[in-house]
């Protein structure tokens, strides 16, 4: 082999599919148990008083009480951190609690966030109605309005938050550009990457600083368990300015500890756990953590099938006489098609939004008549799911907010499952037939 073609040494750290199965766990430290044990316990024996004091004071690593940490949950945290390319992670009882904990770790009363307007309805309500009760205000910006994010930053802004692909309209945030805007302002970019999972996109590679997930969705994948997580990229310099005193100054709650000085690339997660889990306590149960771990073992296998089925469904819907429009980043005339190719090279995800001809009544008839697709308030199940957002997930939003979030009354949100594609299409034919005669159906 010539020198020109000679390959240098290569890192042999484990790759994605291997990490999905193994990261965070060593059997020989757990009685040889090949499967991750479920540590169904509230608390952990201290060796002596000195050991107890050392654990409480963060002098040593270890478990104290399962609200703060648990060995089964810890495996999940390390596994997701490894898959995302993050330094650390903190699992929570749901995706919403992961977002709440992230905000409460970052902000104090009087602070401000810039937030994408296209979010899950519950997240919109958190930012619009609940966080102001804690003195934290938000400015909403449409996800494609990259310059709008810059203009909305104020002196007291502590971060930019958004879903990479907005729920339910499938509009993308230009993560690389928006991360530059955030970093120029000395604030972190927080991305909810629930729709993507690290199989489709690793936001840290595109400038995000903190990633949150509802693990309930594709990561767990089977519609069985609630769980959330926040993951830290480790690259954000909390000490670059004076915006984050609770990260950089001595913290009264831990004998004057400065999280940024002591823990550097894991400081945010350490604070979220030490303060947030201690004081708010949205901990994940070990059983649910185990269920999510089961799902993650097959993440890449499932995501491939989710994405291939979704692309088939996009073609089917685009050619269907009952469909007014289809929004999915794989569609060539989708405004974010090129950006999606760059950010989501392994597949554009399995969430499709489409408009049904006949408006709201047709939508209701469609939903009421499909048999295989499940009508429920979840996404990312192995099974195909449908919902009419304006009357379901986003029903607590008023007309103006619905419009600002890009929601229309004819919109159906489709989470494509991994069933046989022909069966999904056949089921949709039943729904569309009913939708063409909504009055007749509703009178039956």
């Amino acid at each position: 082999m010539s020198d020109k073609n000679k390959k240098g040494p290569e890192s042999k750290t484990y790759k994605f599919d291997t990490l999905s199965l193994h990261a965070g766990y060593q059997p020989h430290k757990n009685a040889g148990s090949r499967q991750v044990p479920i540590y169904q316990t509230t608390s952990y024996l201290f060796d002596d008083v000195d050991h107890a004091a050392a654990l409480f004071n963060l002098e040593r690593g270890g478990h104290i009480y399962s609200r703060i940490s648990n060995p089964t949950v810890g495996v999940l945290e390390e596994r997701v951190a490894s898959l995302e390319g993050g330094t650390a992670a903190l699992a929570t009882s749901s995706g919403m609690s992961a977002i709440f904990l992230t905000v409460m770790t970052l902000c104090e009363a009087g602070d401000h966030l810039v937030v994408s307007s296209q979010l899950y309805g519950g997240t919109v309500n958190l930012f619009r109605l609940t966080l102001p009760k804690f003195g934290i205000k938000c400015t909403f910006v449409k996800p494609r309005d990259t310059e709008g994010f810059k203009k909305a930053i104020q002196k007291n802004t502590k971060g930019i938050f958004g879903e990479l692909v907005g729920n339910p309209g499938n509009e993308l945030m230009n993560m690389p550009e928006i991360s530059k805007i955030a970093h120029d302002a000395g604030i972190p970019l927080i991305i909810d990457a629930t729709y993507q999972t690290p199989y489709l996109c690793k936001p840290f590679e595109h400038g995000a600083d903190i990633v949150v997930h509802s693990l309930t969705k594709w990561m767990a994948g089977h519609g069985s368990s609630m769980a959330g997580i926040l993951v830290e990229g480790g690259n954000f310099d909390w000490m670059q300015n004076d915006k984050f005193p609770t990260m950089t100054k001595p913290y009264e709650g831990y004998h004057g500890l400065s999280f940024a000085e002591e823990f550097g690339p894991t400081a945010f997660t350490m604070k979220a756990r030490a303060e947030g889990m201690r004081d708010f306590g949205p901990c994940l149960s070990p059983q649910n953590a185990w269920n999510v771990l089961q799902g993650i073992e097959t993440l890449s296998v499932r995501m491939k099938k989710h994405c291939s089925n979704a692309e088939e469904m996009v073609k089917y819907l685009l050619g269907h006489e009952s469909v007014a429009w289809v929004s999915h980043p794989s569609v060539p005339d989708h405004p974010d098609h090129a950006l999606a190719k760059k950010l989501l090279p392994n597949g554009r995800g399995s969430m499709i939004a489409f408009g049904i001809k006949g408006g709201k009544d047709a939508g209701v008839a469609f939903i009421n008549n499909v048999k295989l697709a499940s009508h429920l308030a979840n996404v990312g199940d192995t099974r195909t799911l449908v919902i009419h957002p304006a009357s379901g997930t986003h029903s607590q939003m008023d007309e103006a907010t619905l419009k600002f979030a890009g929601l229309s009354h004819d919109m159906i949100r489709l989470s494509v499952g991994i069933e046989d594609i022909d069966d999904i299409k056949n089921d949709f034919e039943i729904g569309f037939r009913a939708a063409r005669k909504p009055r007749l159906v509703s009178n039956q």
């Binding site: 040494p9 290569e10 990261a23 965070g24 060995p71 951190a81 490894s82 993050g86 894991t266």
Partner: protein
């Protein structure tokens, strides 16, 4: 805390306690391209148990200003200057990897100043893989990836961090990328590769010395660590199974236990 050494502002973690000149001093010296944060699971314990702790960021590393020092000998002299700068006459030294070369040389040069020496993943010489050295000197992030791969044992590769939720390899990688790779890792690797005096320096050491080695350490294998320890009179050796070069994180509790026993016996604190 921040203080000046040879005109440069230097950062050192004091383990979460105010620096107290009335307590015996332990200085922790990190490995190539890394920072004070590698010591977090040892420093906080000593700081809360009767010692003053300085987990240094070498010049140009972590939160310290100045330029990276180019030779192990310069780093050894610089450690002596640190002791002077904080108003002490003596200290106990703890080093990891490159930090072992630095502390061995420092102890040989300043025998009256150094009271105990603890070496983790140490060897008398650390010749660098030429390709790894070239990558680091060119600032290629692949150098960090390779270092993280070779520096970690099973705990690093599979996981199982003593602090719940932390993932070894990515955390270590981020520490090594916290400053410009060629100006930290590149300079440090070259300094290690050039240093030839480790075995001679070891022969001069007459103070209590501890070597903690690990069976899966690919960067400073057990046999190299033993070769060094054999040259130091009365040196104690502790070997950790199933552990890599980053033993201070991979097996943090074991390391702390051994270190605690060694330092409290040989360099006791009145208030311990």
């Amino acid at each position: 805390m921040k203080f000046k050494v040879n005109g440069d502002e230097i950062f050192a973690s004091t383990g979460g306690r105010p620096f107290d000149k009335n307590k015996p001093l332990i200085i922790f010296v990190h490995g190539s391209g890394l920072t004070h944060m590698t010591w977090v699971l040892q420093t906080r314990y000593f700081a809360f148990h009767g010692y003053s702790v300085l987990a240094l960021d070498l010049p140009g590393h972590g939160l310290s200003k100045g330029k990276s020092l180019k030779t192990i000998e310069d780093m050894a002299d610089w450690i002596s200057s640190v002791i002077d700068a904080v108003g002490y006459k003596e200290a106990s030294l703890v080093g990891h990897s490159q930090g072992c070369l630095v502390t061995i040389e420092c102890t040989a040069r300043y025998p009256d100043k150094i009271k105990t020496l603890s070496l983790m993943g140490g060897a008398g010489a650390i010749p660098m893989n030429p390709e790894l050295l070239a990558l680091a000197e060119n600032g290629d992030p692949k150098a960090v990836d390779l270092m993280m791969d070779w520096a970690h044992g099973p705990a690093g590769h599979f996981g199982g961090h003593p602090v719940p939720g932390l993932y070894h390899i990515n955390t270590g990688g981020m520490l090594a990328k916290s400053r410009t790779i060629k100006d930290t890792l590149g300079v440090d690797f070259r300094a290690c590769d050039n240093y030839k005096n480790g075995f001679e320096a070891a022969k001069k050491i007459k103070i209590p010395t501890l070597s903690i080695l690990a069976t899966d350490d690919k960067m400073c294998p057990v046999k190299e660590g033993k070769k060094l320890a054999d040259l130091i009179e009365g040196s104690k050796v502790d070997i950790i199974d199933n552990c890599g070069h980053m033993m201070l994180l991979e097996e943090a509790d074991r390391v702390l236990k051994v270190l605690k026993s060694f330092i409290t016996t040989n360099y006791p604190s009145q208030s311990n």
